[in-house]
Symmetry: C6
Subunit: 246 residues, 6 copies
């Protein structure tokens, strides 16, 4: 009943049943700072644009597109070219801009002018412009912060996911992971999406270890075991046949 | 004094005293994301409908029925057919629909229009329509979120269970489990239902381990030990004679 | 100075100094869901009624008396008969009833109409009717929830215990235990009663272990060590000479 | 510069520098339910009254004097006689009495009528009546609960201790200890008193172990090591030369 | 660029780079009840007054000066004489006095009349009177409690330290340490002072162990390792060449 | 696409891909009290000023510049000279000054007069005056405290970083780390900056161990492993080839 969308990221599709993400799913990519979340997302879009003729939209709520491209240059991906060829589109929907020094520091209670509506419109516009099949929101956490009340946040997330269900794309929501331990509390977004991938950096004794783990994927039998991964000079690489060392 | 309702899920009835769930009970099925809660619930309904002539009602508060059926297709269950033959009925009582982009992001304080009343009516209507004997609410957590006050939540849950006592069915309430550790705080719903089944994914060192455990079953002596389980291509399978490995 | 009230539950009286509970005490029976608290309580009343000519009152704030009797049927106790012979009396003082679907879900702020007064009257009436010598309140937690303020709760519990001091009976208050670990915070009720018995289910590695422990008993030297117990087909059985296995 | 007040409790004075509590100190005796706090306190008064001609005042805020005496009867202390001979005096300053069933359950916001003043007057009256040299407040926790605000509580405790400094007696404040683990947060009262004694029941694996420990004693070098203790049929007995077993 | 102020406490100056505290620093001495904080502080002043011709001011916010001197008598320090010779001065700036029984227990919201101003004036007066070079505030915690709001507390502490920077003395602030474990959260005062010394009593298995540790000392390379210490009959003694035993 | 800014601190640039910090980045330097954060920052500026002709601005929100220079004198850096030669500039933007004793202790609710604007102006002025290429804010925590609301704090931090993106310098924000354990919660600032360096002092058994770790560095492949470091008499020294001992 499903089509599958291979990520093209080494080792990942083997973990995803050998086929990839079920088409149309919204997946949470959750990790700590420096875990490679943005790299994973850009690599997903880059692979789609170059290998599979699937254009992609990258929505940034935090870093400027120029800085993202600069940070990704270490992997050898020519993102500017893909943008020119309308294979990728970078959209900045950062809620606040510092226009002048006066505005700096003012409490931006009016940030709720930045509605879910604006975000959804930006996504829609981007998808339409290049007929995208892949979408990334990075990070969705900034969007969630607009809603201080937990119940509002849950409903906003549900609205976002409901709207994404109709956009015909496979969507990644990049999210920030709170704790560093192996035992943790589940964040509410994990219950609302169709899949969850964790990129964790865990201290084993005094050694840092990177663990890639698919903890949820509706509609597909996947390998749920944590697997080691690296950030190489070509991007993320996961090792599906290895166990994370103790 | 009891009739028993076999789940038909491999390994589960052996754990349930060899007979199944005492008829009429309301059971909490609690687990983390990706633990197989929905799979367990659908399998329970599917088994009832196909093996025991017991029609079932699946009430969803989160995923669209179409998506649920699509996600379950990997197990080879022909849910559309059972629905046509009025052996299963899928009802969506999701509190919020995004009707248009304007409504997206508005704070839905009016969600209390979604009353317990509507949920109970939906259940009643479904049970009546196909003379159901099995009911699933998935997940009951979304319903609980309507009541921000803890005491209101407890009383709402008690009302729900009290009403279910009269519906002549055996009911599963699917619930989200907060933490991932072996030691945990009991959630208040566990005290109000007649039985509790936990589907846990626990990290043993770096290996993920799935544990099925019946922690409560009024009126029946059960095996309380945690047992390993898998999500196979036929659904959930529990291994009642094995111990979870360290 | 004391008379003693043997529980008649296998293994328990050996732990209670070989004699039982000091007459007139109010004892907290605290445990998690599925730990056998209600079974312990009913067994205490059943033993009193059948073996020692001591009628008993069972006050339920949660489950319907019919369901309690049904759930206990697995142990072979003829509770209906004892009720007919006025050896036992089951009283339901559940604070809320769902009279019609309209009332379902309404916030019952008026629950404070359910006063301590009503509970005490129900107890008094029951004791008087059958000249009871044993009383069970199951669970006292629901009663406590009527008082959101912690200090009010403490004073309400003290009033309850003060009133019980005068009822000439030996009283068990069934209570819900929060955490599952061996280390825990003491709940305030433990300081107010004359005795505390814990029924705990503890995970030892991956194996579930049941532990019975008397942590407090004023006026009597008891064995404070945790001892294993089972829920057999005759009810609770404690093993006073065994140590809980690691 | 100090006189010392031997407790007379076996093993304790050896730990207190071989001499006892510095005269005039206010000491916190902190422990969980069933740890023997009240037994320790009564034994201290009993020893003073019978062995050292030091009358004592026992102020109870929780249990009725009659019940305390009944509970202590297991140790063979003739408390009634000592009361008749004006060697001991039992005073009840319980903040609430249930006068009639109407008053039960009413929120007693007016409990602040029970002032520190009343408690201090009760102590003063008792000390004067029998020329007491030893005083026990059991438990001081109930008194503290009158002050919901933490800062008020700190100042009330300081006022109490300041007043006690002038009463010419050696004073024990019995207090409830929150957690059961070996690692814990210090309670604020520990900083305000001149000495602190902990009576802990700790789980060692599955075995319960009793530990007596003097964690603070101004003006006297003491043995701070935790030592095992028992509650025997003569009262508390501490073993100053033993180590608590692992 | 610095002069150094040897503490004169055995073992401490060896840990402080062999020289002592950089002159003019404000140091936090943090420890649990019974850890020897006050002893350390008095020993520091005593050493300064007797060995180095540096008079000292002891500001108490909790214990009466007479009681402090009495408690310290066990170490053989003639504090009364030093006071007469104007080598030491004891000042009581306790925020509350119980003037009469009426005032006892009244909520002292007016405690903010006790301003930082009064404390600073007391210090200034004391320093001027005896030309002090060493100052102790014991404990600074009571002063901090005047400010319920965390941000006010931080600013009050900064004002205090800023004022102390100009008093030409080397200052110890005695503070209460919350938890007993080895892992802990840093208290905000640790970031505002120029040095931090912890006096910890840690449970090693069942044995109590005392650990002295300098965790911060601006301007001087110190030994940061925890070292064992004792409270002997001459005061504190630290063992800089030993490791704390496991 | 990047230029790199070597820190010049022994061992650090080897960890930073052999090249240093990507030019223009804002990096968080996070550590506990006494971990060497300020030393690291001053060493970074000193190296830039003396070895690479890159003037630097040191903005202090806490310690007076004179005290910082005095504390750093132990390392042999002639900061006064560098200041005279306009290679370094020290700017104090401490939010509160104690002008007179009256003002001490007054609640400074007006501290929000200290705007982000003032901080940014101070930075801009300093950078312009000496044509700086390196900037340090020490600590940024004091600035964050101006915003009690978490969302305001996040937006203020984003504004600060956005402004820094345009200042043409490489910027270090010094921050206070809450806990001492190896497992921790990520602080929100870690998500907003381009790099994160942790200076941790961890207890290994009873031995204190210093660990340097780069947990994030956008645009550059770095060594993420924790490495031991010391504070020597020349400043910080990291050992990139060693593992932290257990």
């Amino acid at each position: 009943m499903f089509d599958y969308v291979p990520t093209g990221i080494p080792g990942v599709d083997a973990i995803l049943g050998g086929v990839g993400i079920p088409q149309g799913h919204t997946i949470l990519i959750s990790g700590g700072p420096g875990s490679g979340k943005t790299t994973f997302a850009i690599q997903f879009l880059h692979q789609g644009a170059t290998e599979r003729g699937e254009p992609g939209v990258y929505i940034t709520l935090d870093e400027e597109p120029e800085d993202v491209k600069k940070n990704m240059s270490q992997f050898g991906w020519d993102l500017d070219r893909l943008e020119k060829d309308k294979k990728l589109i970078f959209i900045n929907v950062s809620p606040i801009r510092v226009a002048s020094t006066e505005r700096a520091g003012l409490i931006q209670l009016g940030m709720k002018e930045f509605k879910l509506v604006k975000l959804l419109e930006a996504v829609r516009a981007g998808v339409e412009e290049i007929q995208a099949k892949r979408v990334v929101i990075d990070p969705v956490t900034i969007f969630m912060l607009q809603y201080p009340d937990e119940i509002e946040r849950i409903y906003a997330m549900r609205d976002l996911i409901a709207d994404f269900r109709k956009n015909g794309c496979t969507n990644l929501l990049i999210s920030e992971l709170r704790g560093t331990g192996l035992e943790r509390e589940h964040q509410f977004e994990e219950y609302l999406v169709q899949g969850v991938i964790l990129l964790r950096t865990v201290m084993k004794g005094d050694k840092l270890s990177r663990m890639f783990q698919v903890t949820k994927m509706r509609g597909l039998a996947v390998d749920n075991q944590p697997r080691p991964y690296d950030i190489t000079n070509s991007g993320i690489e996961v090792y599906p046949t290895l166990t994370v060392f103790k």
